[in-house]
């Protein structure tokens, strides 16, 4: 703390950022909570309905539950691709002698591409007619009977819209985990190897526990990012066919800006906020407890 700071100087520095944050983030959260108790289309007078929106959401709305289930699937696929992929590639990278910088740079390149561009790209990669990349590769390796219109098949569409999201951010998480792995003291691993520990044992007993704090942070970032996933499903399929790739976020968006049901959309928003807070809390509890055991 500065000895000569005054109350005024604190306010001068703190108020501008706090004001912007308040207008853009905090106020909207409270407004959503407020609107979630109303029936409102943005034009006619607001109608207070109490908990009716919540009752409808939890008991009367099958689309909501489908979207909720899809969101969970989307998050799981993204996490496996992003964190699993990141951990594997980062570990492999520490074994490399040369070219680490090049690999790092190339590997995060997809993160630089806009979601609209990615949607165009994957539309072509998945397509069946004309034959897209995946179907061509299947044909080439003799699995032509597995060819599929990946984005119109209700069984594959959720995975198909999740993969691009996983693909595009795995590089960023890889960078974080790689930096953490580099910080594991070499002496620790050497000592374990001299004691006859296998690579696998060294990894799980020494490396992984050592990077656990970073792993927790990365998991939280990846989960909250996956829970706010919107662009790619919205652009690739707009939730379809049917509701088979509908996420809570896309459902909320359509409810708000296509059906102009601001009240109910806010109710879904409130649920998404709570869901994120619960998810972060759970990750913290689960990974912490393991660390203590």
């Amino acid at each position: 703390m500065l000895p000569q700071r005054s109350r005024l100087s604190v306010l001068v520095f703190l108020l501008p950022p706090l004001a912007l944050y308040g207008i853009a983030v905090l106020l909207p959260i409270f407004q959503s909570l407020f609107l979630s108790f109303f029936d409102w289309d943005g034009i006619s007078p607001m109608l207070f309905v109490g908990f009716e929106n919540y009752i409808r959401m939890f008991t009367g709305d099958t689309v909501f539950w489908i979207a909720f289930r899809n969101t969970l699937g989307y998050v799981v696929i993204c996490l496996v691709l992003q964190l699993g992929g990141a951990l594997i590639v980062a570990s492999l990278l520490t074994l490399l002698r040369r070219g680490r910088e090049v690999v790092k740079t190339l590997y995060i390149l997809p993160a630089v591409i806009s979601t609209v561009a990615i949607a165009f790209l994957f539309q072509r990669i998945y397509s069946l007619d004309p034959e897209g990349l995946i179907n061509q590769v299947l044909e080439f390796i003799g699995l032509g009977n597995l060819q599929n219109a990946w984005l119109s098949d209700v069984g594959t569409v959720l995975a198909a819209v999740s993969v691009p999201e996983g693909w595009r951010f795995t590089g960023l998480y890889m960078l974080i985990i790689y930096a953490a792995l580099l910080a594991v003291p070499a002496e620790l691993e050497e000592a374990a190897k001299l004691d006859g520990a296998s690579w696998w044992q060294t990894f799980w007993r020494i490396r992984f526990p050592y990077i656990r704090p970073v792993w927790i942070t990365t998991t939280i970032i990846a989960t909250t990012n996956a829970l706010r996933g919107f662009d790619i499903p919205y652009l690739l399929t707009n939730g379809g066919p049917g509701q088979s790739s509908e996420l809570l976020t896309t459902y909320m968006y359509k409810t708000a800006f296509t059906s102009t049901n601001y009240g109910y959309a806010s109710t879904i928003s409130v649920f998404v906020v709570v869901e994120c807070l619960v998810a972060v809390g759970l990750i913290f509890l689960l990974l912490r407890r393991k660390a203590d055991a």
Binding site: R7, Y21, V112, S114, T115, I176, N225, D231, A265
Partner: protein
Amino acid sequence: MTLTATRPIRPSEQESLPRPRRRQLHLQRKLTGVIVALIVIVQVYPLAWLFITSVRTEQDFAGGNPFALPTEITFDNYTRAFATGNLGLNILNSLIVTVGAIVVIVFLGMMGAYALQVLGFRFSKFVRALFLIGIIVPVQVALVPLFVDYAAVNLLDTYQSIIIPLAGFALPTSIYLFSSFYEYIPGEIYEAASLDGAGPYRIFGQITLPLSVNTMVTVAMVNSIFIWNDFIFANTFVLTDDLKTIPLGLQNYIGAMGKVDWTATFAAVCVSITPLLLVFLVLNKAMTYSLASGATKG
């Protein structure tokens, strides 16, 4: 995902191995190299495909194998892309929004971190917790309320309508990055300056700000990627063609042409991602350098 930038990278640990393991390791390294190369190819191939398609002739793309190498290279797609779409205007709009938001994020982030970390006050813990909410909460929660608010104060369809939420949601990580850097500025510097009679404003302008340049670059770079590519805020708050940013311009592309002109669309995609790609590759080097030199000094 911004956390990497502040963590210094240690020199590699590979040299201190006992001799008998060397040969085994040599083979292992080769194998690792091959696997990593394969993974990188799979990761980067879609991007390479984008650029290759953008120089392919229409007939080659439609008739031939669109995933093989092109038979001839053409830049007609780019001409058509610029002729049909509004790419120049879109890029200009994206630049205005990105630069505007970055300036806000960097300066307000610095000010917030200075108040929280350097000046300090009684409720700083509470304010920090408040900012944490913005990292956890999904941006979609702000869409309906901001749409309603903007409509009330006539801010819909302005640059500010996109800049405000983009900057607001990026502010917490910016403050976090600056604070964790300010933690390492030794208190003696501030005490000495105070003894010389410098108040909080002069200390900010003459000590903290000049020291923050590296962090400013980090914050600006990481955020520019997300802001340049923002789709959801622009898609919600921009209603007319005049203000459309690059992602919206691209999205309009397909509809505007009736039938999809894929090669021209991919040319437009390439135009839209190239500036950021270049900035990224250039700054990436600068960042690696500053991180490495920071690590060796410390």
